[in-house]
C-alpha cells in the first residue's frame, strides 16, 4: 500500500511549513509510527511520524524547503510497488491531486497532537447599533489608552469586553461555539474567514464547508498519520450492515446509459438566473430529481417497494438523495417530489442536506423514500454501481459531466455528456423495463420542456 505524505496543518493559521530534517533517506525502510521528518513554522517545530510502513521511495520536498499545507512531501510504498502515478501527482501542487488515484490510503493528521489550544474563545456579539458590550472598567481603560472597544476580542461572559481584553489588546476574532470550532479544525474549514454577524455555530461551519466542498474535492488531502484499527461504530456500522444485507439479498443489475446534458445545462443557466434572486442556486441534481420524479410516475415498477415476496407500487414519489456526512452517508427523503417545482426541490434539498450534516434529521425524514438518487459526479466519477436502498427497487447513480466530441449526423459537435447508472432489483422487474425508464429520463434530459407536459406516455 502506497502513502503520500503531505504537509500537515498544526494550527489554525498555518498555511505552509518547512521540512527541516528528513530522518530517513530515500530507499530506507520506514516503520509505521517512526519519526520521519520535522516541520518548522514561524511558531512551532514538530516531529511527524510515518502513517504506515514501507520504503521511503521518493521525496518531493528536500530538507530546508517549504511546502504548503496539504502539498505532497514524499511517497512511502512497497519496495517494488509501481508509484509512477503518485509521482505524477507530485509535480502538480499536492492540492490538485485527483480524488480517484487508487491505492492510497486516506489518512488523518500525523501522530502529533498539533494545534495549540491556548487561544481563548472570544465573543463578537455586537449590539444592534454597532455598540460593543464592554464592562465600565474596560471602557475606562480603553479611553485612557485610545483603544476602540470594537477592535477587541471579548473574553467576558456573553461576549462582553472585559479589562483583561484591553490590557492584552487582543485583536477581535469572530466568536465560535466550541463544537463548531472543533468541527472546523478537524475538517479544515477556515472559520476565521466565515462572514457572520453573530456567533459562528456548527450549521455555519457546515454551510461554509458545503460551499467549498465541490471546489476542494479534487484536493483531498493525504495527511500523514499512524494507521489505526478500530471497530466500526455508530453510523459506519449501521451503513455496513445495511449495505451488506442489500447486496446479499437483492439481485442487483446495473445498467448504464450515456446522456447528452447540453440542453439541460442551458435550461439550468436560464432558470438559475431567475431563481438567483431568491438565493437559490439550481444544480443539475435538482433537475435530475425533478426529471426522475416525472419519469417514475410513468414507470411505477421502479417507484415501488419489494419486500416479503410482495411488491408495493406507489403513486406518489418520495425521492431519497444520498448525502455524505461526517463519517457516513445519510439518505434524507424529499417527499412528494413529483408535486414540487424546481425551486421547491432546491430548497428542500438544501435544507435536508444541511440538516443531514448537522445530524438534525429525524428518522422520519429518512424514511418512506420510494427511489434513491446518488450523485458522485461532483467527485469526478463517471459511472458506478449504486447499491439499492431497501425496500426500494431502484437507485440512480449520477456521474460527472464531461465535454466530448459527438457525432450529430455527419458533423462532430462538442456536447456535454453524463453517464447514468441505474441499479434495479431483478426480483421486482426486468432489464427492459429498467431500460425504458432510463429512456424516459433521457427524453426529459434531452428536452427539459417536456416536464411541462403532464402525464401521458
Amino acid at each position: 500500500m502506497a502513502f503520500v505524505i503531505t504537509m500537515p496543518k498544526f494550527g489554525l493559521t498555518m498555511t505552509e511549513g518547512t521540512v527541516s530534517v528528513w530522518f530517513k533517506a530515500v530507499g530506507e525502510q520506514v516503520e509505521s509510527g517512526e519519526v520521519l521528518f520535522e516541520v518548522e513554522t514561524d511558531k512551532i517545530t514538530n516531529e511527524v511520524t510515518a502513517p504506515g510502513s514501507g520504503v521511503l521511495r521518493h521525496v518531493f520536498t528536500p530538507a530546508g524547503t517549504s511546502a504548503k499545507v496539504g502539498e505532497s512531501l514524499a511517497v512511502i510504498a512497497g519496495e517494488t510497488e509501481d508509484i509512477s502515478e503518485l509521482l505524477g501527482g507530485g509535480e502538480e501542487s499536492g492540492m490538485e491531486r485527483p480524488a480517484e488515484t487508487s491505492g492510497i490510503e486516506e489518512t488523518q493528521q500525523a501522530g502529533t497532537s498539533g494545534t495549540s489550544s491556548a487561544e481563548t474563545d472570544s465573543e463578537a456579539d455586537v449590539l444592534p447599533g454597532g455598540f460593543r458590550k464592554a464592562t465600565p472598567l474596560a471602557r475606562k481603560l480603553g479611553r485612557e489608552r485610545g483603544i476602540a472597544m470594537d477592535s477587541l476580542a471579548a473574553s467576558g461572559p456573553g461576549g462582553i469586553v472585559v479589562a483583561r481584553d484591553v490590557e492584552e489588546n487582543r485583536a477581535k476574532q469572530p466568536a465560535i461555539s466550541p463544537t463548531a470550532k472543533k468541527y472546523a479544525e478537524e475538517n479544515g474549514v477556515e472559520w476565521e474567514q466565515i462572514e457572520q454577524r453573530g456567533r459562528i455555530m456548527l450549521p455555519d461551519v457546515i454551510a461554509a464547508q458545503m460551499k467549498t466542498a465541490c471546489a476542494s474535492v479534487q484536493g483531498v488531502q493525504y495527511e500523514a498519520a499512524e494507521s489505526v484499527t478500530k471497530p466500526m461504530a455508530g453510523a459506519r456500522k449501521v451503513i455496513a450492515e445495511r449495505m451488506t444485507q442489500s447486496w446479499q439479498q437483492i439481485p442487483h443489475v446495473t445498467i448504464t446509459r450515456e446522456v447528452d446534458v447540453t440542453r439541460l445545462q442551458e435550461a439550468q443557466a436560464v432558470l438559475s438566473g431567475d431563481l438567483a434572486e431568491g438565493g437559490v442556486k439550481l444544480t443539475l441534481t435538482h433537475f435530475l430529481i425533478k426529471i426522475v420524479a416525472a419519469a417514475l410516475q410513468k414507470h411505477p415498477s421502479l417507484n415501488a417497494w419489494c419486500q416479503n415476496k410482495e411488491i408495493t407500487t406507489h403513486r406518489d414519489v418520495h425521492i431519497g438523495v444520498a448525502v455524505s456526512v461526517n463519517d457516513g452517508l445519510l439518505v434524507p427523503v424529499i417527499p412528494h417530489a413529483c408535486k414540487k417545482d424546481l425551486g421547491e426541490i432546491a430548497e428542500a434539498l438544501k435544507d435536508l442536506s444541511l440538516r443531514a450534516k448537522e445530524q438534525r434529521l429525524s428518522v422520519d425524514e429518512m424514511r418512506g423514500g420510494t427511489f434513491t438518487i446518488s450523485n458522485l459526479g461532483m467527485m469526478g466519477i463517471d459511472g458506478f454501481t449504486p447499491i439499492i436502498n431497501p425496500p426500494e427497487t431502484g437507485i440512480l447513480g449520477v456521474g460527472r459531466v464531461v465535454d466530448k466530441p459527438v457525432f450529430i449526423g455527419e458533423e462532430i459537435a462538442r456536447r456535454s455528456m453524463m453517464t447514468l447508472s441505474l441499479s434495479f432489483d431483478h426480483r421486482a422487474l426486468d432489464g427492459a423495463e429498467a431500460a425504458k425508464f432510463l429512456q424516459t429520463v433521457d427524453a426529459y434530459i434531452q428536452e427539459p420542456l417536456r416536464l411541462l407536459l403532464k402525464g401521458r406516455q
Binding site: S177, T179, K182, L202, G234, A235, V325, V363
Partner: protein, 456 residues
C-alpha cells in the same frame, strides 16, 4: 400607519404574541372566549404545579412531623391556594395586556375569509387586520371507548377543581399529565392505578427515567398496568366504576381520569372559510408559523408539534416578529426542554440516547446517581440521577436527562449549553456551587472521561 394584528386566543402563546407585537409598535387586538391565560394558567401548568407543591409539602410533613399532620388532607385549603395563584396570575396577564395597550375582546372568533375576523360575543363584531395569529390551543381528547360519558369519568379540566378527593383513582394514560396527577393524588393518600398502553410510562423520555420514576411511584403505592389498553368502563353501583383492560384485567375505582392526549381547538375558527390548511388535526405551518394563507399565522397547541406552554410562547414571538417584518430565526425543536413536575421531577433537553443513535451519532453517556449527592441526601430525596449524553467525536452535548428534585429548574443550564453548542469540556470547566444537586451534572460529564470525583 400602524400595522393591525389580531390574535385569537389568550393562552400563553396568544398573549405572548400580542405583547411582542405591541412592543414592535403594532395595533393589537386579542380575542378570548374564556379566561385569559388559556389552558396553562387556568387548567394546566399553574394549577397542577400549585397542587404538586401542596401535596409534596403535605406528604413530607406527614412523614417528618406525623403528630402535627394527623388530621385529614386539607383539600379545600389546597384548592383555595391554587385558585388564589390562578386569579392573581390572570390579573397579572390582564395588567400586562393593558400596559401594552392591547385591546382585549371577549368572545368566540372565527375567520370570515381574507383577513377578516368575526367575533360572536356580547356584541357581534367584524374586524380587519394586516395579520392574524391563531392561538386557540387545545382541549383534552376522549378516546371513543364505551363508558367515557359516565359520571365519575373526568379529564384534567375537572379533576383540578374536584370538590372532594376520591378514595380510588384510575388514571388512563401514563404521560406527563397522568404522572403529575398520580403524584398529587398519591401524596394526598388516594390509591392510584395508572393504565398505560405503551410498555413504559413517559414513553418519550429516557428509558431509565421512566423506569426509576415508576419504581419510585410504586413505593408510594401507585399501581401500574403497563402495555394494557382500556376497553370499557362500566358502572358498578354505589358510585363505583369498573374498568376492563386488554388481557382480561379489571380495575375498580371511584373516579377515572382520562389523560390520553389533547386535541387542537379548531372548529369555532371555521378555517375553511379562509382556506387555511389542516394536517393531522392541527393547523399546518412552516418554520415561521405561517399557514398556507399569507398573513395568517398559527402557534401553540393548535399548530405545534410540541404542546407545551414555553413552545407556544416561543412560537408566538416568532409569529409576531415575522408578521411585522423582522428577520427571525425558526425555533429549533431539538433544543426545547421538557419538564415533568412529579416527585422527583424529571426533565430533559436534546436527544435521548436512542434518538441520537438513530441519527447516526456515536455517543457516550455519563451518569451521576443522586445516591452520591450530599444535597440530595439532606433533602431526603435520593431517588434519581443526572445523565449527560455527548457525541464521542467532539464531546458535543447532545442530550441531558435529569430525574431529581429541581430537575425542571436545572434543565435550563443544559438548554443553554446545547443552544451554545457546548461540549462536555465547558461543563467540566464551569465551577459549580457545593452542595447542590446541579454539581452532579459536572460529575456526569466527568464520568464520560472516567474522571468523576464523587463516584467510585
Amino acid at each position: 400607519m400602524k400595522k393591525r394584528l389580531i390574535v385569537i386566543g389568550g393562552g400563553p402563546g396568544g398573549y405572548t404574541a400580542a405583547l411582542r407585537a405591541s412592543q414592535l409598535g403594532a395595533e393589537v387586538t386579542l380575542i378570548e372566549k374564556g379566561e385569559l391565560g388559556g389552558t396553562c394558567l387556568n387548567v394546566g401548568c399553574i394549577p397542577t404545579k400549585s397542587l404538586l407543591e401542596s401535596s409534596q409539602v403535605w406528604a413530607k410533613s406527614r412523614q417528618w412531623y406525623p403528630e402535627a399532620t394527623a388530621r385529614e388532607v386539607p383539600w379545600s385549603s389546597i384548592l383555595k391556594r391554587k385558585e388564589l395563584a390562578v386569579s392573581q396570575l390572570r390579573k397579572g396577564v390582564q395588567g400586562l395586556l393593558r400596559a401594552g395597550k392591547i385591546k382585549v375582546i371577549k368572545g368566540t372568533a372565527s375567520l370570515a375569509g381574507g383577513k377578516t375576523v368575526t367575533v360572536a360575543g356580547e356584541e357581534a363584531l367584524s374586524l380587519q387586520a394586516d395579520a392574524i395569529i391563531l392561538a386557540t390551543g387545545s382541549r383534552p381528547s376522549l378516546p371513543p371507548i364505551e363508558g367515557m360519558n359516565l359520571p365519575g369519568v373526568v379529564t384534567s379540566d375537572e379533576l383540578l377543581s374536584i370538590q372532594s378527593l376520591p378514595k380510588r383513582l384510575a388514571i388512563i394514560g401514563g404521560g406527563v399529565i397522568g404522572v403529575e396527577l398520580a403524584t398529587v393524588c398519591s401524596e394526598l393518600g388516594v390509591s392510584v392505578h395508572v393504565i398505560e398502553a405503551a410498555d413504559r410510562i413517559l414513553p418519550n423520555m429516557d428509558t431509565q427515567i421512566s423506569q426509576q420514576l415508576k419504581d419510585h411511584l410504586e413505593k408510594q403505592k401507585v399501581v401500574f398496568s403497563l402495555g394494557k389498553k382500556l376497553e370499557k368502563i362500566l358502572e358498578k353501583g354505589g358510585g363505583s366504576l369498573e374498568l376492563s383492560l386488554s388481557g382480561g384485567e379489571s380495575v375498580e375505582a371511584d373516579l377515572v381520569l382520562v389523560a390520553v392526549g389533547r386535541a387542537a381547538v379548531l372548529e369555532p375558527l371555521q378555517l375553511e372559510r379562509a382556506g387555511v390548511e389542516v394536517v393531522r388535526g392541527k393547523v399546518k405551518v412552516n418554520a415561521y408559523q405561517q399557514t398556507n394563507q399569507p398573513g395568517i399565522y398559527a402557534i401553540g397547541d393548535c399548530a405545534s408539534p410540541i404542546m407545551l406552554a414555553h413552545v407556544a410562547m416561543a412560537e408566538g414571538k416568532i409569529a409576531a416578529e415575522h408578521a411585522l417584518g423582522l428577520a427571525v430565526e425558526p425555533l429549533n425543536y431539538d433544543l426545547v426542554p421538557q419538564g415533568i413536575y412529579s416527585h422527583p421531577e424529571a426533565a430533559m433537553v436534546g436527544l435521548t440516547s436512542e434518538e441520537a443513535r438513530n441519527r447516526g451519532f456515536d455517543i457516550e453517556e455519563g451518569i451521576f446517581p443522586l445516591m452520591a449527592s450530599g444535597k440530595a441526601l439532606v433533602s431526603g430525596e435520593t431517588t434519581g440521577f443526572l445523565k449527560v449524553i455527548a457525541d464521542k467525536k467532539y464531546g458535543r452535548l447532545l442530550g441531558i436527562h435529569l430525574l431529581a428534585p429541581h430537575a425542571t429548574e436545572m434543565i435550563s443550564e443544559a438548554s443553554l449549553g446545547l443552544t451554545l453548542e457546548a461540549t462536555i469540556d465547558e461543563i467540566i470547566k464551569t465551577v459549580y456551587p457545593h452542595p447542590t444537586i446541579a454539581e452532579g451534572i459536572q460529575e456526569a460529564a466527568l464520568a464520560i472521561k472516567g474522571q468523576a470525583i464523587h463516584l467510585p
